[in-house]
Amino acid sequence: MKRKAKVKKEQCVACGCCVKVCPRAAITVPMGICAVIDEQLCVGCGKCVKECPASIIELREVQE
């Protein structure tokens, strides 16, 4: 099992705070609507989870 960051898209304000702290550049805000995390790049470090001002990113366990 690995941990990956997941965004609750409906509540995302697309501020991009998460983009700035991601050490793997795994997050983008395409089209200014909500943050999208590239699962292949995400290592589940949780930096974005801490940073998100709306606290709408969480770490979830996923099957490898």
Binding site: V13, C15, G16, V29, M31, G32, P53, A54, S55
Partner: protein
């Protein structure tokens, strides 16, 4: 991560607040923070302004993060709800248009210039030391006082929520952020259909 030139735009935001304290006419520069995000969202259909260039966000991030002024608690649920965000957007712009109306009245000569900065839409602070006269109409100065009031009010609100919640809590209910996100949503819906 290597810092880019735009990671230092917080200096612009801080300088803006200081300049408005010295000469109110500098408040006009704040229009950049209104026009640029709108132009980017309308022209490019993204929130690059929030994501990269917003100096105010960077300032809160710095004060709440590196300076440790934030409790880093979660925001209450109601504050991140769409009702609050859209409600605040409407309220903010209603007050903004009232400010424009007051400016118009001074331009039209129906009202005299009030050398005051209104904080939180209620408290009238004396600010006469920042007024050194204008070459043109008094309305130009009235707009500067009004616009600086808007900028100072939002900074104070953002600062309070920075302390109470996460550093960039302001971004969640920032009217410009909400509006540019709505523009992006509308723009991309158009493309899809």
């Amino acid at each position: 991560m290597k810092k880019k030139w735009y990671d230092h735009l917080w200096i612009f935001s801080l300088t803006y607040l200081i300049l408005g304290f010295l000469n109110i006419l500098f408040a006009w520069l704040g229009l950049i923070c209104f026009v640029v995000p709108l132009m980017i969202s309308i022209g490019h259909g993204n929130k690059a302004y929030c994501n990269k260039y917003c100096g105010r966000g960077q300032l809160f991030s710095l004060l709440g993060g590196r300076f440790g002024l934030s409790r880093k608690h979660d925001m209450p649920k109601w504050m991140k709800s769409k009702y609050f965000r859209y409600g605040f957007l409407i309220f903010f712009f209603t007050m903004f248009f009232m400010m424009l109306w007051n400016t118009y009245l001074v331009f039209a000569g129906e009202r005299t210039l009030a050398q005051k900065v209104t904080l939180l839409w209620t408290f009238k602070l004396p600010w006469h030391w920042a007024y050194h006269g204008t070459l043109v109409s008094d309305g130009v100065a009235q707009f500067a006082f009004g616009f600086y009031s808007v900028m100072l009010t939002s900074t104070v609100l953002g600062f309070v929520t920075m302390i109470l919640f996460k550093p960039r809590s302001w971004c969640v209910y920032c009217p410009m952020g909400t509006m540019t996100q709505l523009i992006c949503k509308a723009k991309h819906k158009e493309v899809k259909s």
